[in-house]
Symmetry: C2
Subunit: 326 residues, 2 copies
Amino acid sequence: MNIEMIRAAQQRLTGHVRRTPLLSSPFLDEVAGRRLFLKAESLQHTGSFKFRGGWSAVSALDADQHKAGVVAFSSGNHAQGVALAARAHGVIAVIVMPSDAPDTKIASTRALGAEVVLYDRATEDRKAIGDALATDRRLTMIEPFDNAQVIAGQGTTGLEIAEQARDAGVTDGEVLVCCGGGGFTSGIALALEAEAPDMRVRPVEPENFDDVARSLRSGQREVNATTSGSICDAIISPQPGAITFPILHRLCGPGIVVTDEECLHAMAYAFARLKLVLEPGGASALAGALFHGGEIDGDTVICTASGGNVDAPMFQRALTEYGDKI
Amino acid sequence: MNIEMIRAAQQRLTGHVRRTPLLSSPFLDEVAGRRLFLKAESLQHTGSFKFRGGWSAVSALDADQHKAGVVAFSSGNHAQGVALAARAHGVIAVIVMPSDAPDTKIASTRALGAEVVLYDRATEDRKAIGDALATDRRLTMIEPFDNAQVIAGQGTTGLEIAEQARDAGVTDGEVLVCCGGGGFTSGIALALEAEAPDMRVRPVEPENFDDVARSLRSGQREVNATTSGSICDAIISPQPGAITFPILHRLCGPGIVVTDEECLHAMAYAFARLKLVLEPGGASALAGALFHGGEIDGDTVICTASGGNVDAPMFQRALTEYGDKI
């Protein structure tokens, strides 16, 4: 896993993946106490950065693999990213999703042509189900984060951040990344190591799902005590990946931990000040920048917004609770 | 008023105004029955395209005018556009706003450093109030649409649409523009006349505020019967401008008229499929593309999203009424 793979992925993605804007607002600068930028991957095709990794992985397969099809497990964003990338390549996709995933994610994954297999997040092992499907139907597994081509695709976000920040006169500062298994975070960290070495990547996780923060402290891959119970469904992976963790350990940290309520509050800020729809997990990095400023160094912070696939009732909850607290 | 003024404005705007993305979604293509693109000016600085015209006008003033300050009347988007542009130029701004404008617009205009003067939309004449302020305090009036430099700034959106559409392989089709007094519409029409002559501009207005549609039919500047009563506060100007109408008449039409409910429904679609926050008036062109397909020709439609400055309760209303109808 190296920068050359990210650059090669960028070649394959050009013309297919959106170059999302790097946004800002004087109002958010004021709340954050420093200059704040937000990389709006919520505006990526399928509503999250996961389309980058999906396209990168599917486009890297050979003709036989394309003919047989792919399988993935995902709470919904990787699901849609792989589904759309597979459809564009004429490849069959089977997606294993938790039955408590947001309705919009399940419905959209099906609408993008994928076969969806539901499982119970509390009692079943999604990887085991996916592996069995891969074996039985000769499908190629596209892991959500522990897959070099997936990481390479996500890393293209980092290449864009470096370039867009440079255009805005920014070459250093902290880069807060919404972090589940670490594919997005490690890919961005590798890209910035090459293109913006004075930037430091900080993984942001929800309370009780801070496996990466704890792993960065202990130096080994820690596991979360539970696999459900946060509204940040997109980023509650059980532990850092075998491929992602060494990269995270070498380049990132310390982790920042935010509450679900802080994510809802950040969603209301993104609504009011950036006119963006973010999902709770996708707002976690913004929550870190707005409400954990004391843990951040420097006069510039760049946040990723990883996704915007949120059901209407959850978005309304954010506005009801925090619409007048901005 | 000509294309050279738009090109000159683009020079002055470069580096200050955001190049907003041209977005799309396979789900919206399906509803529209044709390929649909949306130019997301809701992501412009201050949450609407009005910042373009504000910057263009303020940057075109001379040193004496800068020293004295500017005045504008606006329901809120032009207000914020002028306020931020003035602040960036170190120029005092006084903004005349209706007292029933969305709270977020009044508060943001003040927070951007402008002095806000409120008036009653039903009984007072905003232009008279603005003109009196201009005379008494030697302020330069920046009209919301009937001002050549403002139109030139808005027209830069059209230059971007032509280029971004070309990058997507599109050189013809209908371009639906959210239309109040016609500054945005006429500026885009002039830009497309030069850069994408096979595109046709269609003004979109709310029911009962269809002065432009009626004027295009009659050939003279018609007036709306009322000045309030639509949730599309951004685009309920009383009549087409003296500068804008000849351009609209030469290049645009016929007009498309949408209901407030269709705008709310379009807001729910933009939330779910594009992850964008649109205000009712800013969703009018999308409403035209989604719900008035029978009035549109061709296999491609490009909509502008003019703004996203909506209070939380109005956005929640859109999600409550239409969140499950997408």
